[in-house]
């Protein structure tokens, strides 16, 4: 396992969001800029003091969108780097910002991301790929394959899977930034139209647009930047992995669950904690099955038991392991560049105790996990 060398403590000192949803009159830059302005204001650090920025996004919307976006705040000349790592693009920007600050290259960094995902099934290969003939490049069909197999192996019920959506919508109903705020019953979820059996529409995340941003600051420079220490949240771990050969399914890695384990183990080791210390979690629930498999891969529940824990309410806001407290991808949607930083936003908001009606009781440790095509996984652990 790759061993990186963390240096200084690093804190998230500001977070910002542009609402998630559909915004035909706003450009990708508009979404990103609004989130950045929000995060800078939250941090109290002005744009002119930011020495570097990382921007996560996937689809081509012109070159150097990060630069074009931040030029609107003033041309300060700092390095701006656009990063892409599929569904983990936003969290990759955050990871990169963390390592730049902990290693001492910069004292402060901005990570932000945005996306305008077009409607319809999401694919990951190029248009001229043989995959067009084969019919296998279909993100939700991939989740359906995982779901069918999981139900077969574990005895998970359709109702337990649907409960993931029911919970997500309940949480989102208390989140003004969410794309989908209406709540559903288990029956509503199961009776929504089939996308790829056994996955129904309400078990798939909507295609959405949105922006998110976070400002990071080295612990030993918090005072120099006038940061309010009581609202600064420490980054205890930042892990990013690509695919490991695991003896099964490597040929169709998009459909192979539990790729998250190596990143999770790295992150727990780096933070010096275990899964039993985790108070709340944001995971990659692009489909209901995703949430169940990710919380198992994070070792929060044993293999094959997450569906039962969900049915028992243990992952609800009032449960012992609240999962996707802001509504997750299932209710927020999944603008690839923004999602990973949106998870950081929610984790920070909860750890600060500022989550209002959806506040989890006195959390101290939060985990944010993203997965993406190319077997990218990020796991970040934040602590109060």
């Amino acid at each position: 396992m790759t061993q990186f060398r963390p240096g200084r403590d690093v804190y998230v000192v500001g977070v910002g969001l542009h609402a998630f949803g559909r915004f035909p009159d706003q450009s990708l830059s508009d979404l990103a800029r609004d989130a950045v302005v929000d995060a800078l204001q939250d941090s109290g650090i002005p744009w002119t003091a930011i020495p570097v920025a990382y921007f996560g996004h996937v689809y081509y919307q012109g070159m150097s969108v990060g630069e074009t976006t931040l030029a609107q705040l003033g041309l300060t000349g700092v390095p701006i780097i656009n990063v892409e790592n599929a569904c983990s693009s936003g969290s990759t920007a955050f990871w990169q910002a963390y390592w730049g600050v902990t290693s001492g290259v910069f004292d402060v960094a901005l990570a932000f991301g945005a996306e305008k995902v077009p409607g319809g099934p999401v694919t990951v290969t190029a248009e001229d790929s043989p995959a067009r003939y084969i019919g296998g490049d279909h993100m939700m069909a991939g989740y359906a394959l995982r779901m069918k197999r999981y139900m077969e192996e574990t005895g998970a019920t359709a109702a337990a899977l649907a409960q993931v959506t029911v919970k997500a919508r309940q949480n989102a109903a208390m989140n003004p930034y969410a794309h989908r705020k209406d709540t559903y019953s288990v029956e509503d979820v199961l009776n929504s139209r089939l996308i790829a059996d056994p996955l129904t529409l309400y078990q798939c995340c909507p295609t959405s647009e949105g922006g998110a941003a976070a400002v990071l600051c080295a612990g030993d420079t918090l005072d120099a930047y006038g940061v309010d220490r009581s609202r600064a949240i420490r980054i205890a771990a930042a892990a990013l992995t690509s695919g490991n050969y695991n003896g099964r399914g490597s040929d169709h890695s998009a459909f192979s669950p539990y790729r998250t384990e190596p990143a999770a183990l790295q992150a727990y080791e780096m933070a010096g904690i275990g899964p039993e210390d985790v108070d709340l979690v944001q995971v990659h629930d692009a489909a209901t099955i995703g949430e169940l498999q990710q919380i198992e891969a994070l070792h929060l529940f044993p293999y094959g038991e997450a569906w039962r824990a969900t049915a028992e309410g243990r992952t609800a806001l009032t449960g012992d392991v609240p999962v996707n407290t802001d509504g997750g991808l299932l209710a927020m949607g999944h603008p690839f560049g923004a999602t990973g930083i949106r998870m950081v936003h929610e984790t920070v908001t909860q750890l600060r105790g500022e989550a209002g009606p959806r506040q989890v009781e006195n959390p101290r440790v939060g985990v944010a996990q993203c997965s993406g095509a190319g077997d990218v996984t990020t796991v970040h652990i934040l602590t109060r």
């Binding site: 099934p121 003939y133 084969i134 459909f255």
Partner: protein, 136 residues
């Protein structure tokens, strides 16, 4: 002459596009097998790979009935997508044809089937595509 959808994954063996073999690579260092081309071993990074012909069947690891197809899908809707585990290890994802939806079951034996597929309105786009069908 029929053209394979991907010559490094599917080698046609006859002239009529109805017979062929899935190709894989086996690492002579660690023994693992992957479906399709490879220059280095996915497990141990060794360049000591040899091309092998894969089995013509396997068992259904999982399946789904796709009701909303991906962009550019040239076939019928809905279609069944099956992930088949070959005896050599690799999983091969492809359309499952000639099946009754209700009769599909995880673990059932599957056998290779080849079919010509064309992109609508694209002359010369016909390719022979590997698919699965339930074994007799």
């Amino acid at each position: 002459m029929p053209v394979s959808v991907d010559e490094k994954c599917l080698r046609l063996t006859g002239d009529d596009g109805t017979s062929g073999t899935l190709l894989g690579m086996r690492c002579t260092e660690c023994g693992i097998v992957v479906f399709g081309p490879a220059t280095f071993c996915q497990s141990c990074s060794s360049p000591a790979l040899e091309e092998i012909e894969l089995a013509t069947g396997g068992v259904l690891y999982s399946y789904t009935i796709v009701r909303v197809p991906p962009p550019g899908w040239p076939g019928p809707v809905p279609y069944v997508l099956g992930e088949v585990e070959l005896p050599e290890g690799p999983h091969v994802l492809a359309e499952v044809i000639e099946c009754t939806h209700d009769a599909l079951q995880v673990g059932m034996p599957m056998t290779l089937a080849l079919q010509p597929v064309s992109m609508p309105d694209v002359p010369g786009s016909e390719r022979v595509v590997y698919k699965w069908r339930p074994a007799m």
